[in-house]
Amino acid sequence: GAGVSQSPRYKVAKRGQDVALRCDPISGHVSLFWYQQALGQGPEFLTYFQNEAQLDKSGLPSDRFFAERPEGSVSTLKIQRTQQEDSAVYLCASSLMNTGELFFGEGSRLTVL
């Protein structure tokens, strides 16, 4: 596809379950970002990759959150032992290096019961 693709679009998890959210960036895009967007809030930075290197993970809220991009393309955000406060839309974005223009996916809405 031409755009950033995220799956699943919607995920309902019971508290304590592990979840994995996938992001397929635009082909050739070097940079990949994950953001968490709570209801009524702006996107909060989680982590940033340049190719397969995770250059900044300072936004990950706890050690239950883990992200990887092993081959420099597809990325997975994993949340272990989900909690209710993890409920949010998780946005993935990609960009060509240094352009500053991020292309966003539609997001994965996670609801933790």
């Binding site: 755009g3 940079s31 970002f33 953001y35 009524g40 809030q41 702006g42 996107p43 909060e44 930075f45 940033y48 340049q50 250059l55 900044d56 946005l91 974005a93 290096m97 240094n98 500053g100 223009e101 991020l102 292309f103 966003f104 996916g105 539609e106």
Partner: protein, 108 residues
């Protein structure tokens, strides 16, 4: 630390009226600033960037380093401008931080 501040969560104007969405930033390096927009049921997308000094859909934004501001302005708002607007800052390591957003409603 909060790097991008948008003081208004909601802003409502009438069609044809001027509109200004405020953005202030806090960053010790050389800032690159952007405005992103999210229309109803669409993805977040780039509206404009300060380095281009461009006008997109009638919107302009000027970087004021003295006031650390990057306010978005349009002289005559249109109903189709109703959307969420996010100010964003890219830092030296190329990661991007967003403000909390302002919901603009343009009334007929």
């Amino acid at each position: 630390a909060q790097r991008v501040t948008q003081p208004e969560k909601l802003l409502s104007v009438f069609k044809g009226a001027p509109v200004e969405l405020k953005c202030n930033y806090s960053y010790s390096g050389s800032p690159e600033l952007f405005w992103y927009v999210q229309y109803s049921r669409q993805r977040l997308q780039l509206l404009l960037r300060h380095i281009s000094r461009e006008s997109i859909k009638g919107f302009t934004a000027d970087l004021n380093k003295g006031e650390t501001s990057f306010h978005l302005k349009k002289p005559f708002a249109q109903e189709e401008d109703s959307a969420m607007y996010y100010c964003a800052l890219i830092m030296d390591n190329n990661d991007m931080r967003f403000g909390a957003g302002t919901r603009l409603t343009v009334k007929p």
